[in-house]
Amino acid sequence: MLRIRRVEEEIERRYNQDQMKTPIHLVIGQEATAVGCCAALRESDLLYCSHRTHGVYLAKGGDLRAMLCEMHCRVNGCAGSRGGSMHLIDKRVGMAGTSAIVGGAVPIAVGAALAAAMKAEGRVVAVFLGDATVEEGVTSESLNFAALKRLPVIFFCENNFYSVQSPLSTRQPARVIHEWAATYGIAAVAVDGVNVLAVQSATADAVERARTGGGPTFIEAPVYRFRAHGGAGDDSHTGYRDVAEREAWEQVCPIRLFDEYLQDTGILNASAVEAMEQGIAAEIDDAFAFALASPDPTEEDLYRHVYAPDPTR
């Protein structure tokens, strides 16, 4: 979590220097969901998500250098500068795909789970979706099919109460999202999204269920993004949400909570944290330097991979 936070803070700090010509959607404040979930997955399990990619990419084990190269539009970016920040992938570690279309990744993840089931790979697929993603009809269709076929998929819903600058109340009637999911005959639970251990444990239950043929799980985790929907900095001052609301959530920062827990229980001490911070800082420096020194794509790169070649040739 700390690593994700520090990486994003550095991205944010540098963003207005205009060297990362890519949209960004920071997860600052929402690190526990990504980390808790991925902690319960194996490397061979697959993860899909939407536009808000940074957290899950790193939590799933994605390569930081490749990520920053992508964000700097370099040819050695994790998607060759063709995907951008909304499309961070690292197949090696099961960071399997993302879609910039809200809801787009949801049925795709179900399809990946279908493939895993057909191939009997014992693989579990998780997909991150936001509260607004629930409004897309395709999410219903995906839940229905996953439940019907009892597929090994985990729908991880980060409910941060907003879609861009639109509050839940302008988009959904008052109701409980995971109770809706439960009517598809899916195991559905709520979990405290700022408590990384709770997230890890809820996900582990879901993974166990999926791996043993028990079918899909829907996990709803209330969280809060401390920054604007997109771009650097907070935008609460524009008036769509209360600054006080954000400040209240900042009191339950997932990283501070976990830090306190670890230090209280003696698992970690201040100097260990300091060492961590130094390690992370060094890694971040290296990765930015690497990205900035990396080559731009050329015109020839543009023409590559429009079609996959004929496998028989």
Binding site: K91, S99, I108, A112, E141, N144, F145, R304, H305
Partner: protein
């Protein structure tokens, strides 16, 4: 027999010569392609609304579930967008789904997944992912189903990078192109035509592939080129016969695939004839007719001895009623008339 089935059965096609090989119907050819793919490619699976029901997707999926089991041939919920996404996700992870639709209209519900996901992932993923999937649908005509059940959508998809679009016109091609589509590592739309389904043809047994992206000359001619695909080619060949009686020698080019389009075969024919009629089963504005016509003027200008002509649907939604349908759909006559005007500009009807 319901009237629309009767109508399809009453269509008259050239009888193939059984001495040239085994004769089967268009529907059987598709069925055989699916069965062979399922048999030889463990990653292939077939899904779609009613693929396992008694009517078996016009008969094309008959017996497949019994033979290959419900895990590999299965019915789906009524969730076109969702199931297109499921197919895409499965294709990205080692499977080769064949997702079948009764009507192209239903594919419109899934354009977001087809156009913005399936067609683009290979590029967006820098080549790391392939999306080997087939989206199959049958274009209707003369079944009284009207504007919402009779659309032909190849024109809408022609501009979408990353997609391939296949439109067979013979039983031989229906099998060979479908096999190519299934074995291709890209998303391929296969658009069939309801009125071709009872056509018989000589079809070899076993696996063979008709290459995607290559057209074929169905009839050689000197005076004018008729070019298109699918059922429009059937009509084009009928038109060529009518024209032959009047001394006009039409060449008929079957594109087989409208995307990627075999530009060279069109341009070569145009060099020979100097005149071109673009034909399509869909609307003539925009789409395949426009692309062919533009191609002729762009890369074949030096050969053009007359205006290009196009024969397709007028810019009107499909009417439901039988009488209105007769005015709506062009037939061989309209193609012949378009050709006549180009070859004999002084000709008056």
């Amino acid at each position: 027999m319901p009237w629309d089935e009767g109508l399809v059965n009453s269509l008259v096609y050239d009888r193939p010569d059984p001495r040239e090989g085994r004769v089967i119907s268009y529907v059987q050819a598709i069925n055989e392609a699916l069965a062979l793919a399922l048999e030889h490619e463990p990653d292939v699976f077939v899904l779609g609304q009613g693929v396992d029901d008694p009517s078996a997707m016009f008969g094309t999926t008959k017996g497949l579930q019994t033979r290959f089991g419900p895990a590999r041939v299965f019915d789906t919920p009524l969730s076109e967008e969702g199931m297109m996404g499921v197919s895409t996700g499965a294709a990205m992870n080692g499977m080769r789904p064949v997702f079948m639709h009764n009507r192209p209209d239903f594919v419109l519900l899934a354009f977001n997944q087809l156009v913005t996901h399936a067609a683009k992932f290979h590029f967006m993923d820098n080549g790391e992912t392939t999306v080997p999937m087939v989206v199959w649908a049958a274009i209707g005509r003369g079944w009284g189903s009207g504007a919402q059940h009779s659309q032909a959508i190849q024109g809408m998809l022609l501009g979408v990078p990353g997609l391939k679009i296949v439109m067979p016109s013979t039983p031989y091609d229906a099998k060979g192109l479908l096999l190519s589509a299934i074995l291709d590592d890209n998303p391929v739309c296969v658009f069939e035509h309801r009125w071709l389904m009872r056509k018989d043809g000589v079809v070899p047994e076993g696996i063979y592939r008709v290459p995607i992206g290559k057209g074929i000359c169905r009839r050689e001619g000197r005076d004018i080129t008729i070019v298109g695909a699918s059922h429009a080619i059937e009509l084009g060949l009928q038109a060529a016969k009518l024209l032959a009686d009047e001394g006009i020698d039409a060449e008929v080019i079957d594109l087989r695939t409208v995307k990627p389009m075999d530009e060279e075969i069109v341009l070569a024919s145009l060099r020979k004839t100097g005149r071109i009629v673009a034909v399509d089963t869909a609307w003539k504005k925009g789409g395949v007719c426009a692309e062919i016509g533009c191609l002729a003027a762009e890369k074949g200008y030096a050969s053009l001895k007359a205006p290009v002509a196009r024969v397709g649907l007028p810019d009107i939604p499909t009417p439901a009623g039988y009488t209105l349908e007769q005015f709506y759909y062009p037939g061989a006559d309209q193609i012949a008339e378009a050709a006549r005007r180009l070859v004999r500009p002084d000709h008056v009807i």
